[in-house]
Symmetry: C2
């Protein structure tokens, strides 16, 4: 039986330690091809590049533990997936994994996440996909404790299949492997960012702003990803790209729009 | 009674004719403040700006038909909304309207849309929000036929309230006003883009790519936005930012993840 073809991408860029760890884990499961941004793309959401040309470059980053093939791409995470599927790969991959992100993509962060936008792009194009994020923003984060769980999730996804129209958002708490309580299927916690703009004046006398903020959890549910992470579980939120709020259709049908 | 405060933004930039038309219509309903990107931001999805500073500039674009206050912002559409709500406005707006986009944001396009990401950002922050798009990519598109319907939708939204967690995605077919069949509440049609990368070689001998593609409708439903638009209706899709695929939780709970 041939090994599964695994497309690995991310949003922190092709040299990020999180991606290198994911490549090592995926090498144990299948044939790995990396197509990842040539520079960090955090917070890029589901951006695509329409008005500038894209460059792609075949390279070899890690001769010992690297992938079969690796390509950097000058675009966004969603661009990388599009380019991989349409231009660089010989056949459709069996699964696309994105990450491991340096930092959480739980709760409302999924909306801003480049890591998840790559996975969602693969999902839109009919490729089973999973985004992995570790709740540790540090560039030197320790990805090793997450390794066994990540391999288990990918193997189960290949075995059972991910339902069509669904992409998995996996977040991993910053813990020693022995302290993981388990893996929990969750819903996205309701939350937002309480922004604060840090206003400064540049040497030319012009005001500018840095976007900062605090995460504000608005959800006490024990079935959420935030609860799971706070209680030592790895969270999996099945995530969809049909954004229709079906429950709201009836309500809005009562508006007086066609009088 | 005081007039409603209306925040107007978009992704085509503060000078775009679609935004200028929306400002004119909103001036008939409330007090209008514009906070919009200083340059086109199409396809930016829900990008936010984390690693560069943001600039904002008070300006007056259209002395006759402009808004009470107008600000350009150097960031993405989502940045504009964050900056408006946290920094520039004295009070929370009664509604945020984004657009009118030059081009469709129906179906899967909602995922890539800067117009909708601005509306969704407002929704996340608890402000009722609507994105408007005209199915005409031309910079000189005729926005006048859509005017009465846009005002009707905004007035009904102010009167009835938009359900919490829901943002409206309104798309308008390119028709004369007399040819509109009505306004239809729809679900997002299933579709994707069949990408084609146009590969070229630059004068230095290096290959580069343009991302192009064809829209591929994968949905024959007559309750979709695509059906509505093709049949002369203005479509409204209630859109949510809780991306949880609740229907898939049970399925994935059967995987063997905690053995």
């Amino acid at each position: 039986m041939s090994k599964p073809l695994i497309l690995v991408t991310n949003d922190d860029g092709i040299t990020a330690p999180g991606l290198r760890a994911l490549v090592r884990y995926m090498n144990e499961i299948g044939d790995v091809v990396v197509v990842a941004p040539d520079s960090p793309q955090s917070g890029k959401g589901h951006a695509i590049t329409l008005d500038i040309a894209l460059y792609s470059k075949r390279m070899k980053i890690d001769l010992e533990n690297g992938a079969n093939e690796e390509y950097s791409c000058s675009g966004t995470p969603a661009d990388c997936v599009k380019m991989a599927l349409q231009e660089l790969l010989d056949r459709k991959p069996d699964i696309c994994v994105s990450g491991i992100n340096h930092g959480s993509n739980s709760s409302i962060n999924v909306i801003y996440s480049g890591t998840m936008s790559a996975a969602i792009e693969a999902g839109i194009e009919g490729v089973p996909a999973i985004g992995f994020s570790l709740c540790d923003y540090s560039w030197n984060a320790d990805f090793e404790p997450a390794g066994e769980s990540i391999k288990k999730i990918v193997r189960e996804a290949l075995l059972n299949g991910i339902p069509p129209g669904v992409v998995l958002n996996v977040n991993i708490p910053k813990l020693e492997a022995k302290d993981f309580k388990g893996i929990k299927i969750c819903r996205q916690a309701r939350a937002n960012w309480k922004e604060k703009f840090d206003k400064r004046t540049n040497p030319m006398g012009k005001d500018y702003y840095w976007l900062t903020g605090e995460f504000e959890l608005l959800d006490k549910g024990e079935d959420t990803d935030e609860w799971a992470l706070a209680n030592g579980y790895i969270s999996i939120v099945p995530t969809q790209f049909d954004l229709t709020a079906h429950h709201a259709i009836q309500n809005i049908n009562n508006w007086n729009l066609n009088a």
